[in-house]
């Protein structure tokens, strides 16, 4: 099985990080994975995205153009990528920044008030983790415990004191999926 994901949002929303956690979590589960960032002469405040592939087979293209899953942290990202998601795929979007999103036939769509939930936890920087938690709950692409383990590898040691907060945000997101 091969599962392809795009994580997208404004620069600074931490979309590269949640992509890395998905890839690292997949690796910890023994899968083949790739993570590829959009890069180039991008402006501060512009959109950023990364492609993640998690597979039982050797990964072919690291650039995802028809994802199985999309995490969209802002409006422009949802608009840009929603039509590319494969039939039967899943979209988690940040309802704090996207007021209304039209239904996409054949797709599972989950609005997540990421910023509000993050603020309730006392740090709006973990909005990305709320969205990731919801995405993991919706798609089961990796387990929560793999994502938590991945945090220890991906976050630099000086940020490890923030791991409990990040885990709380992941759990809040996951709890949105019944």
């Amino acid at each position: 099985m091969t599962y392809e994901i795009i994580c997208a949002g404004f620069g600074g929303q931490g979309v590269m990080l949640i992509g890395e956690l998905l890839a690292y979590g997949g690796m910890l589960e023994g899968k083949n994975v790739t993570w590829f960032p959009s890069y180039g002469p991008e402006m501060r405040g512009g959109t950023a995205n990364c492609s993640v592939v998690i597979s039982d087979q050797p990964v072919g293209s690291p650039i995802v153009s028809e994802p199985d899953g999309l995490i969209a942290m802002n409006g422009p990202s949802l608009e840009k990528f929603k039509a590319t998601v494969k039939p039967g795929g899943a979209i988690v979007y940040n309802a704090s920044m996207i007021e209304t999103a039209s239904e996409m036939p054949g797709l599972k769509m989950l609005p997540v008030p990421s910023n509000e939930i993050a603020s309730e936890l006392g740090n709006n920087k973990v909005a990305n983790m709320v969205a990731l938690g919801a995405f993991i709950g919706l798609t089961k692409v990796i387990t929560l415990s793999s994502a938590v383990k991945a945090l220890e590898h991906v976050l630099p040691a000086r940020h490890h004191k923030l791991i409990p907060l990040n885990v709380a945000a992941l759990e809040k997101g996951l709890a949105l999926v019944k």
Binding site: V59, P62, E66
Partner: protein
Amino acid sequence: MERVMMKGNEALAEGAIRAGCRFFFGYPITPQNEIPEYMARRMPEVNGVFLQAESEVSAINMIYGAGGAGGRALTSSSSPGISLKQEGISYLAGAQVPCVIVNVARGGPGLGGLGPSQSDYFQATKGGGHGDYHLIVYAPGTAQEMVDLIGLAFDKAEEYRNPVMILSDAIMGQMMEPVVLPEMREVTADQPWATTGKKGRAKPNVINSLGIVGEDLERINIELQEKYKKIVDNEIRYEADGIDDADLIVVAYGTTSRVARSALNMLRAEGKKVGLLRPITLWPFPKPILSELAAEGKRFLVVEMSVGQLVEDVILAVNDRAKVDFFGKLNGSVPTVREVYNEINALLQKGGA
């Protein structure tokens, strides 16, 4: 073995250090900057030298010095910077100085753009600088191969006293993948030919690319050609996937081989007989296997991020015995899986005509 996630550029840099590289000289340019950045941090930890030169020209000539003294020396750059290094590369080839040069290629000509490209294939494999010379050219297809091939590159550079190039691109360099790193290797700079002082020797070791007296130059060139023949006979590497029963074989390296593999997986799941031939050495080129496959009646599609450079070597190898089609992308853009899938399907429907 523990797997760690690394960017291709960083995997290559750590692989070089573990293969005994202790000299890095370079000058910044996107999209290879992770290599000097990594080296700047890592080299002092292993008592190595990291030096940001004042230019690419300076960096390649520092390589001449360090490589000539028997050290494992590395420089990296991206396309416009590699063009600046060409004079030095020709001298390194002429003087038979072992070293490794990395090109994390971007789109050209000129300053071009930051997007990935494979349009430096001719430059890498057909000379690039002046004179009748060849580099050994490796094209990694995964982050793991970045590690493995840079180690091999240093070994082969020393074995043949020849510069080796790693031809990567922006995607291979920026992509993160799990890698297993090898143990740190101890290597010696103590080569019998190295210019490390006369010591007990009767004659000094001289490293030079000048052949101006009498028939010196002819002799030098004959020696070089004999060496290149040995490399062609012994060093060809490629990966073949699903070629035995294939009617159509895609030929691609690096990034485009990854895209092609995804498209081929989709087609095989539909029962189509398609395969992949991925050159790992671009020089020496895997000509014998292509020649064999052509004789068996296979047809080929070459997929490149260029207007068609690798395709010329495929056509030469096939030598009119098989049909060779081409699909290329320009301007630093990457073909999508869907585009390659559609291209192959269209060719299969057209049949062998």
